[in-house]
Amino acid sequence: MSQRLINWFKFASPASFYPLAGTLWPWFAGLASVLCIVGLWISFFVAPTDFQQGEGYRIIFIHVPASWMSMFIYCVMAFWAAIGITFNTRLSGMMSSALAPTGALFAFLSLWTGALWGKPMWGAWWVWDARLTSELILFFLYIGYIALTSAIDDPRRADKAGAIVALVGVINVPIIYFSVKWWNTLHQGASVSMTKAPTMATTMLWGMLIMALAFWMYSIAIALYRVRAIILERERHATWVAELPEMQR
């Protein structure tokens, strides 16, 4: 039995994670594509027209999943930051840097689609509301992380500095999540809550959940793909890199 246990720490080494990420990313990319097609089909052809917001409400099928992902990816970055600081593992910093651009992108998309929803529904592209402002701060935290880590030449020091930003900034995530409860905001309350039944039609809910899963699989695929480039950049002088089949001519 003990022989069948997987030594997870083996994959903390960039040399063994590089090929593993290479094997895994196509699967996640495939799942993302299938879920995206199903999610879009439900979003446009199955989900009924909203009786209050007409067809404009269909923006939520990407707005809500993008917002969830922007918060979730930041939590994953903070997780890797904590691991990196505690165990001093090289791969953790690489994972954080691989996730940051995708997180920033989803934070941007959350704000962008929110603005495009806000204009017809509220009459304003932007309001300084608690939910919107805290999401904007999340976007700036991602940008700050990327700017800080790329401004420091030594990657290990860059990881440490970035880890501090990730860990301090993660306090903003519950603020975003609970902002609609804590303050009297213009933004509507949570569409899906863990404590009570969803307040929306089942097909709408399914569309949103499947799109969220699609974004989730996409994020895993792109982060695994990007981390391979980061591993090669940082491990360029290692013997195992020189011995890779793609390095031979």
Binding site: F45, I59, A66, L116, P120, Y225, R236, M247
Partner: protein, 60 residues
């Protein structure tokens, strides 16, 4: 089915600009990110291959 015709579908009940502006920019952003990631890995590989080849030539 919600739509009687293709033009009805694209009009999105008058919300066409907002709906397609959201979905279009999202699709474009994810596509651009994918292309940039591919470019980054390919360029890193090309650079490393060149470096390794130079090292080999120096040793010969």
């Amino acid at each position: 089915m919600n739509w009687g015709s293709a033009s009805e579908f694209f009009a999105m009940g008058g919300y066409g600009f907002y709906v397609w502006g959201s979905f279009g920019v999202t699709a474009a952003a994810l596509l651009i990110e994918t292309l940039l990631a591919r470019k980054r890995l390919a360029e890193t590989r090309r650079l490393l291959r060149r470096e390794l080849a130079a090292d080999r030539d120096n040793q010969d």
